[in-house]
Amino acid sequence: MRTPISYFLLVSALLFTIGTVGVLVRRNALIIFMSIELQLNAVNLALVAFSRQNGNLTGQVLAFFSMVVAAAEVVVGLAIIVSLYRKRRSADVDDASLLKG
């Protein structure tokens, strides 16, 4: 293995940032949600890379748990999006601004 671990971390950083920007600039709730998934996966990549760097499997276990939680999160999140869409006939998050001061 010749590839430096830092390269993976930089890729992870780029993916995470792309996901973040996606959350900030997109209005469609589903695409925002996908961006969040992208962020989670970028973090998973970083965890696995750390695991490799440290020479133990704890990072991988953590990534595994992260996937489990992500699965649960996706289920609930999609359910929320569905009920939001039912209520407002729109998947645009800017339409849900009841908390406006």
Binding site: V23, L24, R27, V93, D94, A96, S97, K100, G101
Partner: protein, 625 residues
């Protein structure tokens, strides 16, 4: 039987409580009867206590009745405790005796008043506080009574508060006496800091050990309280105005009892005054100046009640003069005698007002009333002669002893001044008598003597005024001086001047000169006194207005105080205080309005906030490491 002492004030208190709580349910005059009975029972108890006191040997004539500990803070302890000794008993007898008669008089006098029961409730409350004042065994309880009578005075002066003059007079009395009361309170605190106690027994016997200056300060603070309460110069201005109250109030509170509290305080605290070299002299001078000032002012009054008010001020001045001369028993004697004859005069004035249409008080519209109101006139004449100092009436003995004290102490200047004061007394009182009851009738309506109850009270008090002299036929061996000896010490032996008999003759002569002068001017018909009034109009007005002291206060103190109050109310309060508060409110409101815009309700804006925070924290960590 001294265990009865606490009941003396307790019964009027119970009467006041019952009347206050169940006021309007008392039909007709029953409330007045109840109040009178309460005071009469208190008088009976006082007589019983007095009897037991007299039956004991002279050295044992003192007992304390402590009800409970009122304040206990560290070493400072004040009890609700009453003191039975000759001085407090004499005061209690005077208050309840004269008070009962005046209550009886008021039963008819106040008939038909819409707040009849409340009037008697206040009267009973006043008697309660006055008895607390004179029976208290420590200065703090005395102060409670002191403030309590001030409160009742306020309530009763302003009893007809629908009249603005009455409400204003009540306020004026309260505020003016408050100046003295504050000084008294400071004096008590000062006393506590020196003695660690306010009990008479722990303060007075040790007073002689005080440093001269300390004693002077303490005595002057106490005296300032007395000056306020007893309407001496320069705090006398409230008393003439206090005549806005019902006449029985003027008789009881502003002549017979409350205003004499200052004299009582000075006599009770005489050890402190003696410890200071100058305090007693100041007391004497203030009293004498007040007596002469008020005497001159009284000559100028046309209003019968104001004339009596100024005469009260002048008589109180004589009492202070006597106390200042060290003739304490003479001062108390004059106090007792004055309570009787001044009560007679006030109640007589009340009867006259009662009989004339529209509550007439102007003496220039009276005259010749002796034919229409013979009984009132007779009782008034007794009071007049007693006050002028004609033997064998009480006033003669009392005032004679006070005036003589100056001569016997060797202070001839003061003695002459006091004689001049006595002359003025005879003059203004005779003037009032002649204008009211003698000469040609100038009144309207058909006056007649008051109903029987009022007559009873008048006659009883007149008898008292006539006979009270037997209490002190001699300054040294009289009943009252001897009875008071355990408290105030024996009457000082004369060190100079003529004998007591010669002094008495001089006193009578002076009184007769005053009466004759007044007769010449007002009754003999040789002088047109109405023309004199016009000719000496400016002097007359000066006297009538009390040498413009009141006007001076209005201009120099009340006016600026009102201006300052207006400044505080309309500038400081409205602009600064309110402005600050509304400013804070507006600031919060406007900044909240601005901050409100941050809450867009858009989730993505909030996400920007999260990212901003995350980058900031991460940036800080990176830069730091």
């Amino acid at each position: 039987m001294n265990i009865l002492a606490p009941f003396i004030p307790a019964i009027p208190l119970a009467g006041a409580a019952v009347l206050l709580l169940t006021g309007p349910r008392w039909r007709d005059r029953s409330a007045g009867w109840l109040a009178s009975a309460a005071v009469a029972v208190a008088f009976g108890l006082a007589v019983t206590v007095f009897g037991t006191l007299v039956s004991r040997p002279v050295t044992l004539r003192l007992s304390h009745v402590s009800l409970f500990e009122w304040i206990g803070v560290g070493s400072f302890r004040v009890d609700i405790a009453f003191r039975v000794d000759p001085l407090s008993t004499v005061m209690a007898l005077t208050v309840t005796g004269v008070g009962a008669m005046i209550h009886l008089y008021a039963v008819d006098y106040m008939r038909g008043d819409p707040r009849y029961a409340r009037f008697f409730a206040y009267m009973n409350l006043f008697v309660f506080f006055m008895l607390v004042l004179v029976l208290a065994d420590n200065y703090l309880l005395l102060y409670v009574g002191w403030e309590g009578v001030g409160l009742c005075s306020y309530l009763l002066i302003g009893f007809w508060f629908e009249r603005k003059t009455a409400a204003d007079a009540a306020k004026k009395a309260f505020v003016t006496t408050r100046i003295g009361d504050s000084a008294l309170l400071i004096g008590l605190i000062f006393m506590w800091s020196r003695f660690g106690s306010l009990d008479f027994d722990r303060v007075l016997p040790h007073a002689h050990a005080l440093a001269n200056g300390t004693a002077t300060v303490m005595a002057m603070l106490l005296f300032a309280g007395a000056v306020g309460k007893s309407a001496q110069l320069p705090l006398h201005v409230w008393l003439p105005d206090a005549m806005e109250g019902p006449t029985p109030v003027s008789a009881l509170i502003h002549a017979a009892t409350m205003v004499t509290a200052g004299v009582y305080l000075v006599v009770r605290s005489h050890q402190i005054f003696e410890a200071s070299g100058v305090a007693l002299t100041i007391v004497a001078v203030v009293g004498l100046v007040t007596a002469i000032y008020a005497g001159l002012s009284a000559i100028g009054q046309d209003d019968i009640k104001r004339m009596l008010a100024y005469s009260t001020i002048s008589q109180l001045g004589f009492m202070f003069f006597g106390a200042g001369m060290g003739a304490y028993s003479a001062a108390i004697f004059l106090l007792v005698a004055h309570a009787f004859f001044k009560a007679v005069l006030f109640l007589g004035a009340g009867s006259v007002m009662h009989a004339l249409p529209d509550e007439e008080t102007d003496m220039t519209r009276m005259g010749g009333l002796r034919r229409a109101m013979p009984l009132t006139a007779v009782t008034w004449v007794v009071g007049w002669l007693a006050m002028a100092g004609i033997p064998p009436l009480s006033g003669f003995f009392a005032k004679d002893q006070v005036v003589a004290a100056a001569s016997q102490a060797g202070r001839i200047g003061l003695w002459y001044a006091a004689l001049f004061g006595a002359l003025l007394t005879a003059l203004y009182e005779t003037r009032g008598t002649f204008l009211t009851f003698f000469g040609e009738p100038r009144h309207r309506g058909h006056p007649h003597d008051p109903p029987s109850l009022m007559r009873t009270a008048l006659v009883s008090l007149a008898v008292g005024a006539a006979l009270a002299g037997v209490l002190g036929l001699s300054a040294t061996s009289g009943l009252l001086p001897k009875f008071l000896t355990p408290v105030v010490g024996p009457t000082k032996e004369a060190v100079a001047g003529p004998s007591e008999l010669v002094l008495s003759i001089i006193s009578v002569a002076v009184a007769l000169v005053g009466i004759l002068t007044a007769w010449l001017v007002y009754l003999s018909g040789r002088i047109d006194w109405m023309a004199l009034r016009v000719r000496f109009a400016s002097a007359k007005r000066t006297f009538q207005r009390g040498f413009y002291v009141n006007d001076f206060y209005s201009g120099a103190i009340v006016g600026p105080a009102k201006l300052a109050a207006a400044f505080v109310a309309y500038v400081v309060d409205r602009r600064v205080v309110d402005g600050t508060l509304t400013g804070i409110g507006r600031l919060v409101s406007s900044s909240a309005g601005a901050a409100r815009r941050a809450q867009t309700g858009l989730v993505r804006t909030y996400a920007v906030g999260i990212l901003l925070g995350a980058t900031a924290v991460l940036g800080y960590l990176v830069v730091r490491s």
